[in-house]
């Protein structure tokens, strides 16, 4: 998986600045749309650590996203965001640390199916039991920020919060992929057996990636809960995991910044689709088919 050069990062940074300036010129609806795209980008980026970096295609990601989101609900809204955010990260990381050793005992097809089943287990946990406040979802009280946010200021504040989160996540991962750990994941993706023969503790490396990926998905879920003030078990459903995969495919599986491009592209397509027809599933189905059949390297690949 490639990383952008510092110059490429600069371009991304410019795009981020444009987004950051939205409170000055954009309508609240568009800022909300941008927030949706940013949260989706964080979600997809968290999965890229597994898919793009290590070659592990997982369908459990939504489970960790949902844990991050529901942690906000479980806190009850009395806490500061400086507590809820690490709380969500930690809860999702714990879940990933529990599931990781089991699901990573499998490889290939088994891994995909095992991850699907574990993700659904988390879905059932919030859908069937009283832990999640009900199968239809619940409204939540947002955690408190440094100073109170008025209703009219919300779209702008959340936009900036989400932008800051995504930027930190991306920069952190950009650095990580340049370390020996990041390179080891790349080696595992290409030739796992040789990596073992060369002395790498492949299981532990994969587990570390899995836990990190889960924790970051929890972060994305936290931001979703804070932005929407609503959580539902659907957030943990495997269809949601498949959407993260779609965003990665759209943006380019071979590039770290691919998921960001993919998330914005998908959000845009959905927005356009909704204004054209009611048959949303048809739109999405066709988009996916087109992407799989035509986009061999994703949007990021086109730049090359």
């Amino acid at each position: 998986m490639t990383r952008l050069t510092p110059r490429g990062n600069l371009l991304l940074g410019l795009a981020a600045l444009v987004l950051a300036s939205m409170p000055f010129w954009a309508e609240p609806y568009h800022m909300q749309l941008a927030s949706i795209a940013l949260v989706a980008a964080m979600f997809a980026l968290s999965l890229q650590i597994l898919v793009g970096a290590a070659g592990l295609v997982s369908l459990a990601q939504a489970g960790f996203f949902g844990i991050g989101a529901y942690t906000v609900y479980l806190f009850g809204g009395r806490v500061s965001i400086f507590i809820s955010l690490p709380g969500s990260l930690f809860a999702a990381a714990v879940a990933a640390a529990a599931i990781g050793p089991l699901v990573l005992r499998t490889r290939g097809f088994y891994f995909l199916m095992a991850s699907l089943a574990f993700g659904q287990m988390l879905f059932f946990l919030f859908h069937d039991t009283s832990l999640g406040g009900g199968a239809d979802g619940v409204f939540i009280t947002r955690p408190t920020m440094i100073w109170p946010v008025s209703r009219s200021a919300r779209p702008a504040v959340f936009l900036l919060l989400n932008l800051a989160s995504l930027s930190l996540m991306y920069l952190g991962l950009w650095w990580l992929m340049g370390t020996m750990f990041g390179h080891a994941l790349a080696g595992i993706k290409i030739n796992e057996d040789r990596m073992r023969a060369l002395g790498h503790d492949v299981q532990r490396l994969k587990l570390a990636a899995f836990i990190l990926s889960g924790a970051l998905a929890g972060l994305a879920g936290h931001m979703a809960a804070v932005t929407d003030a609503f959580v539902s078990p659907e957030l943990l459903d495997w269809h949601h995991s498949a959407e993260a995969l779609l965003m990665i495919l759209l943006g380019g599986i071979g590039a770290l910044h691919g998921p960001i491009l993919g998330a914005f592209a998908l959000t845009l397509v959905r927005e356009i689709g909704q204004s054209v027809t009611e048959r949303q599933r048809l739109v999405e189905g066709v988009v996916i088919l087109a992407a799989v059949l035509l986009l061999r390297r994703g949007l990021a690949g086109w730049r090359r």
């Binding site: 340049g178 370390t179 020996m180 390179h183 790349a186 030739n191 040789r194 023969a197 002395g199 492949v202």
Partner: protein
Amino acid sequence: MTPAILRARGLSRRFGGLIAVADVSLDLCTGHAHAVIGPNGAGKSTLINLLSGAAQPDEGTIHLNETEISRLSDWRRSRAGIGRSFQRANVFPAMTVLENARLAAQGAARGWRLLRGAESDPETLGQAFSALDQVGLKASATDLARTLSHGQRRLLEIALVLATRPKVLLLDEPLAGLGAEETAPIVALLQALAMDHAMLLVEHDMDVVFAVASEITVMVDGRVLESGAPSAIRASSAVRDAYLGHRA
């Protein structure tokens, strides 16, 4: 001979009804190359798998410097000093030669050390360059592995093993598929490597075997037919019979 650093005793492995290796014992000593030869299907590759940890023996023991390692997994054995090369070049095609070597060199890295920059860590770079230098691939450091010639790929294969700083070298047909001109430099390399490592060499080319090895074990149908000094093996009629048609 110096004391053996790798001792295998009574190794056996069966796959379903097929006996791949039966009651094989051998010693590897630093400074010496021990060749294992035999017809196809004799169990040589399985033997290497058993020694490297890619497969577990049904019976028998393996000791590395008095420590029993028979049940140790392959990556732990690599960290303990047992390096193994593959018969079919098993490199990372999409990466450069240097990246390949670096990946090998960082195999034993663990914990927080993994967060150091991959391209700047001095220890990893040093080991990687040293290995490439030993096999003569330093000049090709920035070439993509998939663009290498067959001979260069065999050299990279060996470099990967060397980058892990092994004490024991298990080489599985390092000269497979090479022409005469490409063979000579590798033979010189093997002779040099044998002086500092305990080497096991599986090879079909008898000239190479006699040039490099100080001890030869002949395997047939999973068992040791005969074992000893090259001159004894060369003279053995039993070995000649096993290799029908081979010019001794």
